[in-house]
């Protein structure tokens, strides 16, 4: 609990927002999840976070600056398909989030990708889906037309 007060105080002091600063630069949105009262609250919040946006990624770093090769791979794949508007949460900013999302998904590693509130997998799975065409299909189900299809059309 003390840790929490300390980190909350630090947040308020440094001026970084405690709630949810959403930065929309047209490419991606990220939110800093701070001040969570308990692990149970975090689990509940995660449940809402993954449903709030069609595509949600928990990663190390940000889409503009990934801090890990696997997280970067996920960002690159999404970019290739023209998926720019997704929620990206940086687990390096928040140790509780980093562990909490692993518990929530029952998945041991980061990055983690969610489509429509449903866990898709990590980098390996996204890469395989990209290679075998499944990703285009899944995006279609989300109502997102993959940029890859337009690229194919142009080359024909």
């Amino acid at each position: 609990m003390n840790n929490l007060f300390r980190s909350a105080a630090r947040c308020l002091r440094s001026g970084s927002a405690v709630c949810v600063p959403r930065q929309t630069d047209g490419r991606s949105q990220w939110a800093s999840v701070r001040l969570l009262c308990s692990a149970a609250d975090l689990q509940k919040n995660l449940g809402e976070m993954v449903k709030k946006d069609k595509v949600v990624v928990f990663m190390k770093g940000t889409p503009a600056q990934p801090m890990c090769g696997f997280s970067n791979a996920v960002v690159q794949i999404l970019r290739m398909h023209g998926v720019d508007n997704y929620a990206a949460y940086n687990v390096l900013e928040d140790q509780d989030l980093r562990q909490g999302v692993k518990d929530f998904s029952n998945w041991p590693t980061i990055p983690q990708v969610y489509f429509n509130g449903e866990f898709v997998g990590g980098c390996d799975i996204l890469l395989q889906m990209h290679q075998n065409g499944d990703l285009v299909e899944e995006l279609k189900k989300l109502g997102i037309r993959s940029a890859v299809l337009d690229a194919e059309k142009e080359s024909k």
Partner: protein, 86 residues
């Protein structure tokens, strides 16, 4: 580092009846204990990708607590044979 490639290989063979396992210790490329595995098992038949990966995760639950990064590829014996013939 108590988790070794051999240990991982043994667990996969024992718990998933893997007919072929390749474990690569990729730690030198990353900042901490990291592994890349290829698992070929008939138990993966008819299971979607996510489920296969969850099976591997469950099998290596204890080890994964100590591993920093983990890559996996899961194939059925048939897929493995096909991949080899290409």
């Amino acid at each position: 580092m108590s988790v070794t490639a051999d240990h991982i290989r043994d667990r996969l063979i024992k718990e998933l009846a893997a007919v072929h396992v390749e474990v690569e210790d990729t730690s030198p490329n990353r900042c901490a204990a990291s592994f890349k595995v290829l698992v070929v098992s008939p138990q993966f038949e008819n299971k979607p990708l996510l489920q296969r990966h969850r099976m591997v995760n469950a099998c290596l639950a204890e080890e994964l607590k100590e591993i920093h990064a983990f890559e996996q590829k899961t194939l059925t014996p048939e897929q493995w044979k096909k991949q080899n013939s290409q």
